[in-house]
Symmetry: C2
Subunit: 358 residues, 2 copies
């Protein structure tokens, strides 16, 4: 905030609010200054915030501000007492209407605040995980790996995508997760050619490749895992595609260490697929950051940021998930979660990545 | 759009996009003019959109625009070919940074578009459900009611909130829902005093009131149901509170018909609780609209809109869910889903609302 020359930051992104305060509800705002953290929430959550007092989850120095009429009226009141302040808002999260309303509302306040859109202030702290976060993500990855092993036992010809997706979600909850981190993907045969397929009534048939992509939220942190299995014996072509994706996956992990640019990690995966004629079949990025959100920074993609790329850093946690999608034929994706360490990489998930024929 | 004097509308809200096009993915934008619907999506979803062609889910006249570099670059290209157009954006949904970027990007285009923030254009169509939506919501409400009946059989002393929440989510999926509509609430004893409690390790104990609040997404439409049950015999005080909430619930439903203001429906519930000294214990609104989102318009709350309230209209679907929350003691909430008909109200959910002692 000092570097950006702002006196206060209005935080409206719930993941950012959770990061700052441990609040897990669905409505709140934080007004942050160098000295104070004012926490704005409504009737429904006041008791939950009070209940954290004196526990390990308490946010130090949190000042509770209860919403009276509306969130924005309450936030305006807080800023009304900051004459001359320069206030940053979260440009990626605050909606245009709320921003315009706040600006109008406070335009008449003599010496009232001036607003400026900021980018990624809290996210910049979130991108490198601290020791607590790493131990949480490590435990979550261990648990999701165990879920995967159990899931394999359920896969057989005749079961439907939807049926197995339900079983996966049940196992995620049984595994101690709060919930699935996203809509579980179970995509069989030609459906596997859609990277974001929705589980349907298709029955698994002999020779199908089945993409299983699922994740869980454990103690507020997200992990994400994908394996592709074969129903019965895989065709030669299916084996080739799987082997190419696996090589792309392994190469991207091998390339990961502090200082290596995200696009270079992506390129390591992409070149392996290119070399097998599958470059066109790999239409998405190689990975995404994991944390309070299931898709966060850093993005491991081919995009080269215009302002340079200082490279990944120790403490970053992200997925490595190359894939190949061939319309009509099907698809393969292999995804693990990795932590960048001081001198390399630690793969947090632990599930065999060879093509399992079930 | 004509009334608001805009030539084009940039739709970025995913529920609004689903309403307009049946698209269920997680990334897309729509540029709407009087003549055209340009649908912007990326590699991951192109095949899914193409697969709707020729089916009953096809969006007529949809022109697919595939994202090349980024969504915003692609959207800017679309608007770059609309010289002089006045473009509305969705003020409640578009983030400040994206809006400022688009404005800057197109500022240099000679005769390029001018932007203006709009409110609730697509939402205004969504608030009154059509025959297809009503039949979907009616079926969803029938199914969630059946789930509730099954859930009651699982409630007994010794089970935990978390355990029962998992069972509810499983039953929702078994009942044909795509997923739970929100994080299921199971709040027992003193936890029931938190309207948005998260299920924890608390075991149900004799005499606990347990608030069970859950919902499902069926064919993209959300329903939402709450019942409060007693573990074993309820205390006299618990019965009184439950009776008061039930009366508030019944009065609000009885007050519902076309032309009655939302705040008057809320007042019908609130006055019943006030009369029993529980007005202070009812801190939230009486209900919220249901549809593609689990919380949408209309809001049934005490707020009187400054521009008047023309009253609810036939085709609106919303919850009626008064509650009373007493810190330390517990809470009661009873929630049903109602449809405003031409001459009154139809209660879509069908579960007994008396205090069940289990």
């Amino acid at each position: 905030m000092t570097a950006r020359q702002i006196d206060a930051l209005l935080v409206t992104s719930l993941p950012n609010i959770l990061y700052l305060t441990n609040f897990k509800g669905s409505s709140a705002a934080v007004v942050l200054t160098a000295e104070r953290l004012q926490f704005v929430t409504d009737f429904r959550y006041v008791a939950a915030v009070e209940a954290m007092r004196g526990t390990g989850w308490e946010c130090p120095n949190l000042e509770l501000v209860r919403v009276d009429q509306s969130y924005d009226e309450t936030i305006a009141t807080v800023f009304g007492s900051m004459p001359g302040a320069k206030v940053g808002i979260e440009g990626a999260h605050l909606a245009v209407s709320r921003y315009e309303w706040l600006q109008r509302k406070l335009a008449d306040v003599a010496g009232g605040p001036g607003f400026v859109a900021t980018e990624g202030i809290v996210e910049a702290a979130r991108v490198r995980k601290d020791a607590y976060e790493i131990s949480t993500l490590r435990e979550a990855a261990r648990r999701v790996s165990r879920v995967a092993t159990g899931v394999f036992e359920e896969i057989r010809a005749g079961r439907t995508e939807r049926d197995v997706a339900m079983a996966i979600d049940w196992r995620i909850r049984q595994g101690g997760f709060e919930r699935s981190a996203f809509d579980t993907i179970v995509a069989a045969g030609p459906n596997a050619a859609l990277p974001h397929a929705r589980p349907g009534e298709r029955m698994f048939a002999e020779g199908d490749l089945v993409v299983l992509d699922f994740g869980g939220v454990y103690d507020s942190y997200c992990v994400d895992l994908t394996r592709t299995v074969s129903i019965g014996r895989a065709s030669e072509r299916a084996r080739e595609i799987h082997a190419a994706v696996r090589e792309a996956h392994d190469r991207a992990i091998a390339a990961t260490k502090p200082g290596v640019a995200a696009f270079a990690i992506d390129a390591a995966a992409r070149s392996a697929l290119d070399a097998r004629g599958l470059g066109e079949a790999f239409g998405h990025g190689t990975g995404h950051g994991l944390g309070i959100e299931v898709h966060e920074e850093p993005r491991i993609s081919r995009r080269r940021p215009t302002d340079g790329d200082a490279g990944v850093e120790a403490g970053m946690v992200f997925t490595i998930e190359p894939g190949a999608y061939l319309p009509g034929l099907g698809g393969v994706r292999i995804e693990d979660d990795v932590l960048v360490t001081d001198d390399g990489v630690e793969v947090l998930t632990d599930v065999p990545s060879d093509l399992i024929e079930l």
